[in-house]
């Protein structure tokens, strides 16, 4: 049998939201994609549908492309004129309407055009593989599977794969490996049942919550406050999530489920279409893409007021911040305190969770290989922090069984199997889960996956304080982990950097490299500006000076340490978090890394070496046009505008990442990749020599001030923007230097400190800091 060596070209047929999004994400992996749709009926351009989809992709927010240039990898076309292009493709994804006839007719077409060994998959979310593939030729059956992406494909990590009885193992393995390593997906194998795993449970949960909220007399805000954060679910909760998905989509999804599921399925017990929702859809309140949904932004009168619909009357009113005893109780007492609380929120939580968790427990053996797959699907596909079985462990399986019984509800067999045990446990230094026969099995990690969670399960930290820890991740590599609130950087974080350097430096310890990595949502949001606010209030400026100095010293020590340091960011790496990366020998970044020096937003300049490192990078870049000013101007624009890269690829453009740094698509592979990079650098490692830099001094300052004055006059820079930008210009010009005089790194650090201290005392900067702490948004004063 012919097998393709690897996927080097793909096709997506169906240029709707999902198809186009999948094509964009495959392009993000650097793979060329053919994107086909039907021939456009109107106009002369037969490719109009696919071409329009490509144009929409470039405008969509959040951006489907990690780098706009990736759009060039997509070739739009139509299925009549360009079917022959499929002959070059290793993977052909069908993402057309959920219509069996259309899909099967398309498969027949694909079959005539594709090359032997190529793989065909359907992105169906409702149709079973057995029905799709029925009666298709043998070759097709061997190469066919379901690959179910979640929307939006770039950002949602789950990919459910469903293989048929005749699907070649090689085909499944090829897609699985490609999706994991190149697309960064968390691949979960699902069985061929309606809705697969995540939507089977997720749609039930959503529907159950809608019905129970209405019956329990909860407001939209209350329901989301309960069914969000306290359960480890994104704060959009239920109604906010429905607004995101689109209310108009739900009748199709629910109807599809109702038709596909057998009569005895618990789904039928919660399935109904509330009148209010039907009316909302009819009135155009389809969610965020429409006029609004359960929430809407009322812009009447020039203000933007967030409003929520009254589930009883259908009237909108300003959204309230709900105060529920159960939510407060959950903060202290956890999930059990939530579901046992006597208020309406507690009753709601119990009704929804008892049913959803029972449903999941009942279904697990039927829809997935094991409970770990169920939990993974809900974490990756619905962004739950914990899957159903992890939630059950929080409640206690035995406790839940007892409570179900006392409520007169059926107890799922798996709960009985668990008995007094938990579904997960740490055993023999490994994370284990409960198998169907009551035996524990190791949670399998693919080759090349290393999680700090697993390291933590088997070892104790080498060092630890409240904000950071140090772990031995094997092979002589130490991992520095941040774990303060939002991983903001404070004196303890800095102390741990020092401790880390000392630990690796002691030869007897046998360490040779360090990785900076954590498994929080964000690598680091930067220095804790709350400290700056306190300093301003009490005029303890010596403290700010000390913090600047210790930050600079810590990062300098890290840069010149006699061993390599690799930064491994994912999520936000802002301000001081970005400066840490700038001082690493190399960076292994997750593709979804959002790096930026955003200090000017709070009225200061980067002063832990951020200005210095950016200047060194831009002056070292050989691509830049000649002369002393272009690098200075580039850094001035980047820091002055507080430019944040919206992906690791964009970070390369801004030189937050350098050539030689690398990108990992799969979050779970980041630590292993970073560790490998650190070990590679550790061979014959020589620390960098201290750099010298020649800067133009006053003339550059004058040039930048001219730009700032111009922006002020055109109203593009506020008064304080101008103050901050001019202080930045002072640093980036090199101070009172001349182009013939070399500056040392310490000279630049001194300039950074001086500018920072001057700005930090400025009342307008203090106002910016306070505003940021209060609202999370920059103040334009």
């Amino acid at each position: 049998m012919t097998e393709i060596a690897e996927i080097s070209k793909a096709a997506v047929i169906g240029a709707g939201v999902m198809g186009a999004g999948i094509a964009a994400h495959i392009a993000n992996a650097g793979i060329p994609v053919v994107l086909l749709d039907i021939v456009a009926e109107d106009g002369d351009n037969r490719n109009a549908i696919a071409e329009n989809a490509l144009r929409k992709l470039l405008k969509a927010d959040p951006a489907p492309f990690m780098d706009k240039g990736n759009a060039k990898l997509i070739t739009p076309g139509n299925i009549e004129d360009h079917l022959d292009l499929l002959a070059q493709c290793d993977w052909i994804i069908e993402a057309v309407a959920e219509n069996l006839g259309i899909k099967r007719a398309l498969y027949a077409k694909i079959e005539t055009a594709r090359k032997p060994g190529s793989i065909v998959s359907s992105n169906t979310s409702t149709l079973p593989l057995s029905v799709l593939a029925k009666g298709m030729p043998k070759r097709f059956l061997g190469d066919f599977l379901i690959s179910h992406f979640f929307n939006p494909p770039r950002y949602m990590r789950l990919l459910e794969l469903v293989a048929g009885p005749q699907t070649r193992a090689g085909a499944v393995d090829a897609i699985r490996a490609f999706a994991d390593k190149r697309l960064g997906k968390g691949v979960v194998m699902a069985k061929d049942t309606p809705g697969f795993i995540a939507n089977r449970i997720g749609v039930f949960w959503l529907q159950c919550a809608v019905v129970e909220a209405m019956e329990g007399g909860l407001s939209v805000e209350e329901a989301d406050a309960v069914m969000g954060r306290p359960v480890g679910i994104p704060k959009t909760g239920v109604f906010g999530l429905l607004d995101l998905i689109g209310l108009d989509l739900m009748p199709h999804v629910l109807g599809g489920m109702a038709r596909a599921l057998p009569a005895g399925d618990a789904f039928h017990g919660v399935f109904r279409e509330p009148e209010l929702i039907a009316k909302m859809i009819a009135d155009g309140y389809t969610g965020r893409k429409g006029k609004g949904g359960f929430y809407r932004l009322n812009k009447d009168g020039g203000k933007r007021v967030k409003e929520a619909i009254n589930l009883a009357t259908g009237e909108y009113a300003a959204a309230a911040k709900p105060k529920l005893g159960c939510v407060s109780a959950a903060k202290k007492g956890g999930l059990r305190a939530l579901v046992t609380h006597s208020d309406k929120g507690g009753r709601f939580a119990w009704k929804v969770l008892s049913r959803t968790l029972s449903y999941a427990a009942d279904l697990a053996p039927e829809i997935a290989g094991d409970i770990a797959a169920v939990d993974a699907a809900m974490r990756l596909g619905y962004n739950w922090s914990f899957g159903p079985f992890e939630l059950i462990d929080k409640l206690g399986a035995a406790w839940l069984a007892e409570k179900l019984k006392s409520d007169g509800l059926a107890v799922p067999e798996l709960l009985t199997t668990a008995g007094e045990e938990t579904f997960y446990r740490k055993g023999a230094g490994r994370l284990q889960f409960l198998g169907p026969e009551g035996e524990y099995r190791d949670v399998e990690r693919a080759d090349g996956v290393l999680l700090l969670t697993d390291v933590k399960a088997r070892t104790n930290p080498l060092a630890r304080n409240r904000s950071a820890s140090l772990w031995d991740i094997g092979d002589g590599v130490v991992c520095l982990e941040f774990h303060s609130k939002m991983n903001s950087i404070n004196p303890q974080t800095l102390a741990m950097i020092g401790k880390a350097i000392r630990t690796v430096n002691i030869i007897a310890n046998g360490y040779k490299a360090m990785v900076i990595y954590n498994e929080g949502s964000n690598f680091s949001v930067g220095a804790n500006i709350g400290l700056l606010s306190i300093a301003a209030k009490w005029h303890v400026w010596f403290f700010v000076r000390w913090l600047l100095g210790s930050g600079q010293n810590a990062l300098k020590a890290m840069k010149f340490a006699p061993f390599p340091v690799v930064g491994a960011p994912a999520g936000m790496a802002l301000g001081g978090g970005c400066e840490i990366l700038l001082h690493c020998d190399a960076v292994q970044a997750h593709a979804e890394t959002y790096a930026g020096l955003v200090e000017t937003g709070v009225g200061v300049v980067p002063a832990w070496g951020g200005c210095k490192e950016m200047l060194l990078r831009w002056t070292a870049d050989r691509q830049r046009p000649g002369g002393p000013m272009p690098p200075v101007i580039k850094v001035f624009e980047t820091i002055g505008m507080a430019a944040v890269a919206k992906s690791a690829a964009e970070a390369e453009d801004l030189l937050y990442l350098r050539p030689g740094d690398a990108i990992t698509m799969n979050r779970d592979r980041l630590l292993a990749d970073a560790k490998a990079k650190a070990l590679e650098l550790a061979q014959d490692y020589r620390p960098p020599a201290e750099a010298e830099i020649f800067l133009p001094g006053g003339t550059a300052r004058a040039a930048m001030n001219m730009v700032v004055d111009g922006l002020g006059k055109t109203g593009k820079a506020t008064p304080h923007d101008q103050v901050v930008a001019k202080a930045l210009a002072g640093v980036l010009s090199g101070g009172n230097t001349d182009i013939t005089e070399p500056l040392r790194e310490d000279d630049l650090l001194a300039l950074e400190r001086r500018a920072f201290m001057k700005l930090a005392r400025h009342p307008a900067s203090i106002a910016r800091v306070k505003h940021m702490l209060k609202t999370g948004k920059p103040l334009r004063n």
Partner: protein
């Protein structure tokens, strides 16, 4: 004194910087092609050329390394022809004509190619390495004042409303569109490229411009100002060249002398209202020619901005009907270094077409200067 005469004029199409059809053409290539076109058009003997004087406002990058001399090589002129680059910002190529006229008067040569070029796509305004004098910027920041700001200052100082500026801008487009329609621009244009990529018409003219469309634009330089992109000349790529020879030489060699250089002048003014530079320069040149404004039949007044052009018209009491008959820089574009050669060559050509006696070509210059040339029909 030996008289200098204009014996030919050619230019490239003027197209938008960045998005226009000449964006990919190097400025040295652009200048060379126009010079070649001028040589062919006039039939002047290459070996007789004393000097190629090339004006350029930002002579660096592809416009650097004495691009005047390089243009000699690129245009295939004999090595005996010298080459020099001159910079008086927007007045650069009119300055080239003044230098040629001066050299002819001095007996320092008989044949000069006076050209100008600017690729505003490939070399940005302010150049790649703006390194202003820090002390001067503190003591006298006007020395570096951005041009848009001067346009606003002039509008305020002379009380020019936004509507007046827009009417002026619209007139420029209407005149340029008509001139193009009537084939009055084609004769001066040297085409670029071949076949599908051939460029032989101007790219900046907006025949469908309207007062409504202009009124919709946001102020470009001051959020509370009156000057918009529509009432400013666009960033443009282009080159222009004029053949300047002694009157004797033209006669001996059977060239077609279109107009005589009657008088020239430059003058400084306050940088923050550089747009009125033409006023002082024109007055000087008129005095040197022994003429009054009323004696002038054809006027080419560069339209850097509508506000400054209107201010100059008002101050000099110019007759609107004589000004920029085939449209001005707001419609045609303003490739900084090339404009002076364009408006001087154009003034000479119009003098002949209109059957007048005297023409004035004048422009404002960044840093606070004006430059003017008075031509006499032959």
């Amino acid at each position: 004194m030996t008289n200098a005469v204009i014996a030919g004029y050619a230019r490239s199409p003027f197209t938008f910087a960045g998005k226009g059809e000449l964006a990919k053409v190097r400025p040295d290539d652009m200048a060379a092609r126009v010079v070649k076109g001028l040589m062919k058009k006039t039939g002047v003997k290459p070996a007789d050329v004393e000097d190629l004087i090339l004006g350029c406002a930002f002579p660096e990058g592809e416009q650097g390394i004495n691009v005047g001399r390089l243009t000699v090589f690129l245009a295939g002129l004999p090595k005996s022809v010298a080459g020099v680059t001159v910079n008086r910002f927007c007045g650069s190529s009119m300055q080239a004509i003044h230098m040629a006229a001066g050299a002819i008067a001095l007996g320092a040569g008989e044949v000069f190619i006076c050209a100008g070029v600017e690729s505003m796509t490939r070399v940005p305004i302010m150049g790649f390495n703006p390194l202003p004098h820090p002390g001067l910027y503190v003591k006298y920041p006007q020395a570096y004042i951005p041009m848009g700001e001067t346009a606003e200052n002039v509008a305020v100082k002379f009380g020019l409303s936004r509507a007046e500026q827009e009417a002026f801008a619209l007139a420029s487009h209407v005149k340029a569109a008509a001139a193009r329609e009537q084939g009055n621009l084609a004769a001066e244009i040297v085409s670029f490229g071949k076949g599908k990529t051939k460029v032989d018409t101007d790219g900046c003219i907006r025949p469908d411009s309207s007062l409504e469309a202009l009124a919709d634009l946001k102020p470009a330089f001051d959020e509370n100002g009156t000057v918009t992109a529509g009432t400013s000349s666009p960033l443009t790529d282009g080159a222009a060249a004029v053949l300047v020879v002694s009157e004797d030489y033209a006669e001996r060699n059977g060239l077609d002398p279109v107009a005589r250089v009657k008088a020239v002048a430059v003058a400084g003014c306050q940088p923050e209202i550089m747009g009125i530079g033409p006023v002082a320069a024109t007055k000087k040149a008129l005095a040197r020619a022994g003429l009054k404004v009323a004696d002038i039949d054809v006027i080419e007044l560069n339209e850097a901005f509508a506000s400054q052009a209107l201010a100059c018209i008002d101050k000099l009491k110019l007759d609107g009907d004589k000004i920029n008959i085939d449209g001005g820089a707001i419609a045609l574009g303003h490739p900084l270094g090339a404009t002076g050669a364009r408006i001087t060559g154009k003034a000479a050509a119009l003098l002949r077409r209109q059957g007048g006696r005297y023409a004035l070509a004048t422009q404002c210059i960044g840093g606070g200067q004006g430059i003017a040339t008075i031509l006499e029909a032959m």
